[in-house]
């Protein structure tokens, strides 16, 4: 193995800004807990946070709470608590960590999380969402609204799909009016969607810059700093400004030829969520090889903006429906995802595909062996498949992962040398 690559001393503002924005959001939630302002629990995948925002209902994202607890090494006791209550070791650990939290009195990562006023299940692809929010509504005694988004099973959503979703929006809006005591104001929603579109533009432009070599940031490990603002805070002026700032920073880095590592040796596409309990050590396994993610599927669970879709304030509800139906990773088939990854490999000029297979998340992972077949056998893209979990630290086997990753990059390095 050649001399080790190091992470570059990071000098930008994006990480810090993102942290500040997300902290401000958690503080708002804590305040809502005290003042009794309405809150709504909602899922990340292809979400419709803009609708909650139009009523000033504070969005709670149980997935974010779960991942923050995992990063802080606090997920295992919560998972065990849920398992004691009857959840299986084979259930998605995100759900267990969240339910475990409520079974332990509702403490969030360092802050008390409010009990939601409404539990809004945006059922976008993931069937576990349905169960999760059924259980959450029961555990918290909050009202449950099941927003059923038909899965994208035809190239375009059908007219019936769109009608059905918009109809449900109208029904949801009546409920939100009652909860918030506010009348629905379509102009306010348009304004929110304007901010959303601006953030989407910034996120897309940032990703576009990763086509450059070196990529200015790691679109898997660093993208997490942008996923908070794009998925949780989308529709706020602050999130829109954040992305303007991000683009500026990344453009500056491209101009200087700077990337996240001291050297970019391999460009990879990463598929699957990260192992939050071991985020840093997992990242290091790639950094040592100078491997940078130039694109990732995980960064598109909330929305795929890099291929051009933006919320349209002139068609507010229809455009939210379209986003939920088509413009996110989760509501599309796994084979459609192969097409998304293929574009990344080709347009972002990647050397390899790394599939991080997550035991918890069958939505992502069930069938990734077929994905590997497709990329290695049909497209000839070097592909590595490794397994662990996004929330449960018990499934992270560092030595085994390291061996697999080292062997893969050694072979890739050899191939490069031979080709040169």
């Amino acid at each position: 193995m050649p001399a080790e690559v190091k992470e570059r001393q990071y000098q930008g503002k994006v990480h810090q800004l993102s942290r500040e924005l997300m902290n401000a959001w958690t503080s708002q939630l804590a305040r809502a807990n005290e003042t009794g302002e309405p809150t709504g629990a909602i899922m990340i995948s292809g979400n419709c946070v803009e609708i909650l925002r139009a009523f000033d209902i504070h969005p709670i994202f149980p997935e974010v709470t779960a991942l923050q607890n995992a990063i802080r090494h606090q997920s295992l006791p919560l998972i065990l608590k849920a398992e004691q209550a009857g959840y299986s070791s084979d259930n998605c650990a995100y759900v267990k960590a969240d339910i475990g939290l409520f079974l332990s009195g509702g403490m969030g990562p360092g802050t008390k999380m409010p009990y939601p006023t409404i539990t809004l299940c945006n059922y976008v692809g993931c069937n576990v969402y349905v169960k999760w929010f059924e259980h959450l509504a029961e555990a918290t005694g909050s009202q449950l609204f099941m927003l059923d988004i038909p899965f994208l099973r035809t190239p375009e959503p059908t007219a019936a799909d769109i009608r059905y979703v918009v109809k449900q929006f109208e029904e949801l809006i009546r409920i939100l009016e009652r909860i918030s005591g506010k009348k629905f104001d379509i102009d306010k929603l348009r304004e929110i969607l304007g901010y959303a579109a601006r953030a989407e533009e910034g996120y897309a432009r940032s990703k576009e810059l990763c086509k450059r070599s070196p990529a200015p940031f790691d679109c898997y490990f660093d993208a997490i700093n942008m996923m908070g603002p794009i998925n949780v805070l989308r529709g706020t002026r602050e999130a829109a400004d954040f992305f303007d700032e991000a683009v500026k920073e990344f453009e500056g880095m491209v101009a200087e030829g700077a990337g996240p590592l001291s050297e970019e040796r391999f460009r990879m596409v990463v598929e699957g969520p990260p192992p939050y309990p071991y985020y840093r050590s997992f990242r290091n396994l790639f950094t040592r090889w100078g491997a940078v993610a130039v694109a990732s599927t995980y960064s598109t669970v909330g929305g795929i903006w890099e291929f051009g879709f933006r919320h349209d304030p002139t068609r507010p509800l229809e455009s939210i429906a379209e986003q939920m139906l088509t413009e996110n990773l989760t509501n599309r088939s796994i084979v459609t995802r192969y097409g998304q990854i293929r574009r990344y490999v080709e347009e972002w000029r990647a050397d390899a595909l790394v599939i991080h297979s997550i035991k918890s998340c069958r939505l992502f992972s069930a069938g990734q062996g077929d994905m590997r077949e497709y990329f290695t056998k049909e497209l000839g893209v070097p592909t590595l498949l490794v397994e662990s979990d996004l929330e449960d630290p018990r499934y992270y086997a560092e030595a085994q992962l390291r061996n697999r990753i080292d062997a893969f990059f050694e072979a890739l390095e050899h191939k490069k040398l031979v080709a040169a």
Partner: protein
């Protein structure tokens, strides 16, 4: 045909590969098409209305060795998804033309598109069944979805699915479901005369046979069963819950009974007896089916029911069948079953209904541990 003979015939039928059944049917129906449905609910009526044969696509059980599919689906994924894919790789579905999957879970969802990629000659459709049970738009949406599926069959196979023909198919399947309800009621009344293994064989054979033929057999069975011998045994009455998708091995059902249980209710092959009363035959059969999917539905782990607690339907089943306990039988790795276990178990505990958890896999072949667990459970109840 005597009951025992019919049941033996059922046992033989379900041992045959689906493709063999499809080919045989085609010999007597030249130009006919066959569509197989993955659990749980599928629109058998639509398939039948197009002159096609609807079959159940229920995995490979313990008989199919995985040679390709386990490289596609990881170790933490349920067995039925792998063995179902394997059927394709081993050519055991030759003769089947169409496959229908629906949004029961994330695994079935991925399996559907992976099937299509690996075997493009199948017409594969994925049905999005509604999870919102109360929206004013849900029946129209479901009707449109069923129309879409019907149009898909029409353009893939050149068949015609008219409102008229669906009406007739709905009547046929209403009749079959009424017979199944009668069989279930019979087992509740006299479980010593119809074991669960036998009822399951009948039910499963129905998913592998011509429905007109099945109806005749069901009527014969219902006429002959009351005269059957059977002395009541000292057993507890149980409901089993959880095996609505991956199929339990016959050995498991046998062991439950041998260890001292009368299974008096279950959720086996739920999709084939989904509607709790007849689907109305009216001017718009698509809408009638769609509305019924929501309003005449058995409680199921694969459909969100916003109007009542998940345990309610189970508790009703326990009361209706005068059961003493519930045995949960989720397949290993099956998220819908494993998630629902928690609220259902809590509901049972509130009602002081005893329960036991027994996980299984379709490929399981030794049952001694299960036997011991169930025997201990039964003893604790009998001598309580």
């Amino acid at each position: 045909m005597a009951v025992d003979q019919t049941i033996d015939r059922c046992r033989e039928l379900i041992a045959e590969p689906l493709g063999v059944i499809a080919e045989r049917w085609k010999e007597s129906h030249p130009g006919g098409r066959v569509a197989a449905c993955f659990p749980v609910w599928s629109p058998a009526e639509l398939i039948h209305a197009g002159g096609m044969l609807p079959l159940g696509l229920l995995g490979g059980g313990a008989t199919v060795e995985l040679t390709h599919a386990d490289a596609r689906f990881q170790s933490f994924v349920c067995s039925i998804s792998k063995s179902t894919l394997e059927l394709g790789f081993q050519g055991l579905l030759k003769g089947v033309d169409g496959l229908v999957f629906s949004n029961i879970c994330d695994v079935a969802r991925n399996l559907s598109s992976i099937y299509k990629r690996n075997f493009p000659h199948f017409h594969v459709d994925y049905l999005h069944l509604p999870q919102n049970s109360t929206s004013a738009g849900v029946a129209d949406y479901t009707a449109e979805e069923l129309r879409r599926v019907a149009r898909g069959f029409e353009s893939a196979f050149g068949v015609k699915i008219t409102e008229d023909s669906i009406g007739k198919s709905v009547e046929l399947y209403n009749a079959i479901r009424a017979r199944l309800r009668a069989l279930y009621a019979f087992r509740i009344a006299e479980p010593q005369k119809l074991s669960t293994v036998e009822l399951y064989l009948i039910l499963r054979a129905l998913t592998q046979a011509d429905p007109e033929e099945s109806l005749i057999r069901l009527d014969e069975l219902l006429a002959e069963l009351p005269g059957r011998e059977g002395r009541p045994k000292d057993r507890i009455r149980v409901v089993i819950e959880g095996a609505f998708c991956e199929q339990p091995p016959l050995g498991l059902l046998e062991v439950l009974e041998e260890a001292g249980c009368y299974v008096v209710e279950d959720d086996l092959l739920l999709g084939w007896r989904w509607f709790t009363s007849d689907v109305p035959v009216n001017a718009d059969p698509f809408r009638a089916l769609g509305q019924s999917y929501v309003d005449r539905a058995v409680p199921s782990s694969t459909r969100h029911e916003g109007r009542e607690h998940r345990s309610k339907g189970l508790i009703e089943k326990v009361r209706r069948s005068r059961a003493d306990a519930v045995i949960f039988t989720p397949p290993k790795f099956c998220e819908p079953a494993l998630f629902d276990y928690v609220p259902m178990k809590q509901g049972l505990e509130r009602e002081a209904i005893p329960h036991l958890l027994v996980e299984f896999e379709e490929k399981m072949w030794t049952f001694e541990r299960t036997r011991n667990e169930v025997e201990t459970f039964v003893e604790s109840m009998l001598f309580d």
